[in-house]
Amino acid sequence: MSRTFPRPTKISAPFWAACHDRVFQMQRCGACTRFVWFPMYICPHCASTDLHWTALSGDGTVYSRSLVIDPVSAASAPPGPLLVALIELDEGPVMMSNVIGDGAEDVAIGDRVRVVFQQVSDDVTLPVFERVIAEA
């Protein structure tokens, strides 16, 4: 196991600091109004520098998913397989993350998920996701 911990940079530090405070935020472009992921110096859509940290709903949909049997680099160092997923956030961006909690291994593409925070070291808290079961 060679755990990989994110190392915040000048541009990404606000994202990781917010995760530590259980706040899920990304940059939003004041010019084209689109959200930006991962943290950047200019908007990758329209090249504006008018980017503002903005809270997200934390809701999203599974875009793809794989149960990784031996997740060698996971910061969370799970004792077994880990559900790795691409999450399409309701605000637009697609991000890599994990689905954790009850039924995580059975999560399917198209399932609804919501962000939760998983502290993996003194310094690092990862945004991960749990399934949202629709009310009957």
Binding site: S2, T4, S12, R65, S66, S73, A75, V128
Partner: protein, 403 residues
Amino acid sequence: MTLDPSRVAVIAGVGETPVGRLPDTNSIELHVQAAKAAIDDAGIDKGLIDGLLTSGAFLDDNIRHHIIIAENLGIYRKTLCDTLRTGGQSWCHGLQMAQWAIQAGRCRAVLLVGGDTLLSSIPTGKGLGAYTDYGAHSMEFETPFGVHVPGFYALLAARHMHEFGTTSEQLAAIAVACRKHASLNPAAQKRDPITIEDVLASRMVATPLHLLDCSLISDGGHAVLVTSLEVARDLKPTPIRLAGLGQAQSYYHMGHLAKAVGAPPEIARTHDLTHTVQTLAAEQAFGEAGVTPADVDVAELYDSFTITALLQLEDLGFCKKGEAGAFAEGGRLELGGGLPINTHGGMLSYAHPGATGGMAHIVEAVRQLRGECGPRQVADCEVAVATNVSAVSSTHSVAVLTR
């Protein structure tokens, strides 16, 4: 218009080392052995070589890797010399740079050479972690979540299955075809035939990819010598023409691939995770060659994973988007089928010694066009395609080769 034969680029020599587990060697020696094999194959005077392209190495790398290799080969004067940092995509990319240098009259002979000892030099079970630490993929926003190289491609495969109904059996058919061809290639690392059931019964690495959906880990080296038709006419081998070349690169970050972040609208509308920019590379390569996928006799497709090859059947235009699963069924990709692929066994069964792995596809395409492949020869082989791919099918180079 009559082309000036001094400005027409051809492949005049190919070479390789043995592949598999080679415990008593190193990447520098493998570069030298492969290069010498290609030089000897061409029968060219080494002093004529004035271009050298390498792709670095996982082991014994150097920021000026191309110079280290040049010194070890005694290639003093280079008017084109560099280390390509395009990973698995390096060699059809390198062919295009060589072609441009020949067409522009800036080089007379360009050597492409690679070699590595991934199998012998990295302890078993440590390879995925070592590659993660290499840092090709985002160490901040991807790998902390436990994804590794098979995991990236598993996410791609899962999405393709979701969108198009592709099955594990259809992916397995690619591994079966490669193994069948490797069984006919005495040089291949894995030669025992396998069935679709064997692939599905092999251990799961990252759903939906099983161990036999994944390429090998190998030691080995390969080399290709590009020169002008004018020079090649005085050499022994049949010159193989670089009829058409193309390349296209997007991004590594999977979130950006899924949304084609930053792409102009006309590209963004038509590209996402399962619609790769190989379409653009293919358009260039087939367009330059003046042929269509229907004209192709053999396709040597970069096969880091079964899904890597499957996607290319669509993006190169052999079938429509979403239909590659069905296309792969029924032995169509095997010798005797409509489109034999990876007649040397590919990276799934011949060898995958790191960045040089994709050069073997070019070497095999050249040998098929020369008619040198014995029991695995494709009859009347006149048009071959070789592809190189890297990084979750995000960067591509495509070569159409003809006699």
